[in-house]
Amino acid sequence: MNLASKDIRHNLGRFALTTLGVGMLLMVVMGMGGIYRGIVEDATLLIDRVGADLWIIQRNTRGPFAEVSRVPPNLVHRALAVPSVQSAREFVYHTIQREREGKPLRIAVLGLSWPTDKGEWIPLIAGRPLAQNHFEMIADKSLGFRLGETVELGKETYTVVGITTSMISSNGDGIGFFTVTDAQAIQFDTPGEAVRLERASREARGERSEMGLKQPPLLEQAVKPSGELPAIARPQLSAVMVSVSPGTDPNQVADIISGWGDVSVFTQKGQRELLLKGSVEKIRRQIGLFRILLTVIAAIIMALILYTLTLDKIHSIALLKLIGAPNTVILGMIMQQALVLGVLGFGIAYLIGQKVFPMFPRRVILTQVDLSQLAFIVLVISVASSFLGIWKAMRVSPNEALS
């Protein structure tokens, strides 16, 4: 006869509610693990998918994912001149915040190096890659854009030609893919009045300069658009992505480029580690510690629940001892209930989590490894938390059955 199941059946309502509570608690533990995994995944997803062997970034910075990185556009051509470099692409990346339907809309703007990179590597769930140099974008579905929808950014209007999924920045913002030119136009968009003021300021500065005094016709150039002035450089890039020829060790190429004084270079793995140890590290540790805290709290609560369940059965336990039940029978009853509580709680956590986690604003990723680890932890917690109840049960005297 299984005493644990008999007791559970007798107190089914209370046990079910208790299990539901434990399940909800475990769901939070599971969710924290999922958020942790989601942050790591989101942070590294772009680096993993974009397929660059090397990232060339501004000297002594941590790259565009961690801080502002500026490199000159001609760096693409310099990189291409390095032996064993198969391709070099421009990379522009920044985050903007606009308003859409009265709500803040944050977009991680990523520039694709047209025409080399049209975004074919981006996993699309609808639409197509970019087909022209301007005014098209591919949007992550978390941004809420519909296919064919037009979006005004800066002075231009962009059409959503593709919808992708799970393309999230390390801050959790959905990524919008544009050509590099459009991404820079969005980044450096300046209001008309500011442009006019800058031109006037430029002219005023020129009038005071020696060059302006000696060659007054040059001042006529100052009022022209920046793009028409040969002396003003093109907008800078965030980084340059390099792919090496097949069979080449990326570290060899990295060694050459690292000798250049104006840039730093990282392999894909290096950039990934840099990102995890940099911008994501604190939140990763914070969530990790919070998860440990929650696990400990879950263990304490489970122990208290099992202790209370044992206290409710003290008379029955004393009676069992009185009629000669060995300790293994009593221990087994408490342990089995603890395991049932843990296993059902885990199941409830998983089932509810499957429904609830997709509603979270950031991705909650439940991996098999994480679930297996948590299942093992729950088993350990269940067994450990039953010790308090078992300790109490072992101290019960059969005399108590007579009181």
Binding site: M1, K6, K321, P326
Partner: protein
């Protein structure tokens, strides 16, 4: 090893507390119960009857004195001379004033558990439990939980459980308190029948003087001391 008595106690003494708070609940209580003998233990409340019974039942060891069950020394003062719990399971049946049933087990399961703990298979235990409940007239309530049974019905389930393993010793503390006189007498006669047919030694603590004729021997306790009356 003594084999002539089902139960034999020598000078059982139980002292609670020490110094100024010392209370002697039982003093030099000696009793011999032969196989097949039914003994009544009378006495006012607080006279030490329950203390004696729990000492003989190997639940609450005495401070001094010895307890022999079936000739085997089981308690020598507070020292256990055998595995008490295992010994209780195999040799002693308990019935108490309160029915003391496990609330989450049905009537039949309360009897069945005692048999299973003693090594019976589930099927055999269930058949035997049903027979016992039928014998005691509550077979029709076998599947009811204790909370759905009257006090008398609960007590009969407790009797069935006590008899389940055919114990050589039955200890009953006010077993008929919750029963009407007719059922009370039936239970007393059942004890006598079990004692005579199976050779069990039975000690019944009772206040019910109407059924004293059922008993072979009567002991009385007063202020912790035991006297044989007849």
């Amino acid at each position: 090893m003594k084999k002539s008595f089902a139960i034999e106690t020598h000078d059982l003494t139980k002292v609670y507390g020490t110094g100024n708070t010392e209370v002697v609940a039982m003093q030099d209580a000696s009793m011999q119960v032969q196989h097949g003998e039914v003994v009544a233990l009378l006495g006012p409340s607080g006279s030490g009857k329950s203390t004696f019974l729990t000492a003989v039942g190997l639940i609450n060891p005495p401070t001094f004195g010895q307890v022999f069950i079936g000739g085997q020394l089981t308690l020598d003062g507070p020292q256990a001379r055998t595995n008490l719990r295992s010994f209780r399971r195999r040799h002693i049946g308990f019935i108490f004033q309160k029915s003391n049933l496990i609330p989450f087990l049905s009537a039949i399961e309360n009897v069945q558990i005692a048999l299973e703990l003693n090594g019976e298979t589930s099927g055999t235990a269930r058949r035997r439990a049903r027979e016992l409940l039928d014998d005691l007239g509550i077979g029709d309530r076998a599947d009811n939980l204790p909370s759905m049974l009257s006090g008398g019905q609960q007590q009969r389930v407790a009797v069935a459980r006590a008899l389940a393993n055919r114990p050589s010793v039955i200890l009953a503390d006010e077993p008929t308190a919750a029963l009407d006189s007719h059922r009370g007498r039936q239970v007393m006669e059942l004890f006598a029948q079990v004692a005579h047919e199976r050779g069990a030694g039975v000690i019944v603590v009772t206040h019910d003087h109407r059924a004293l004729d059922v008993f072979d021997t009567i002991y009385e306790m007063e202020d912790g001391r035991m006297f044989r009356q007849g």
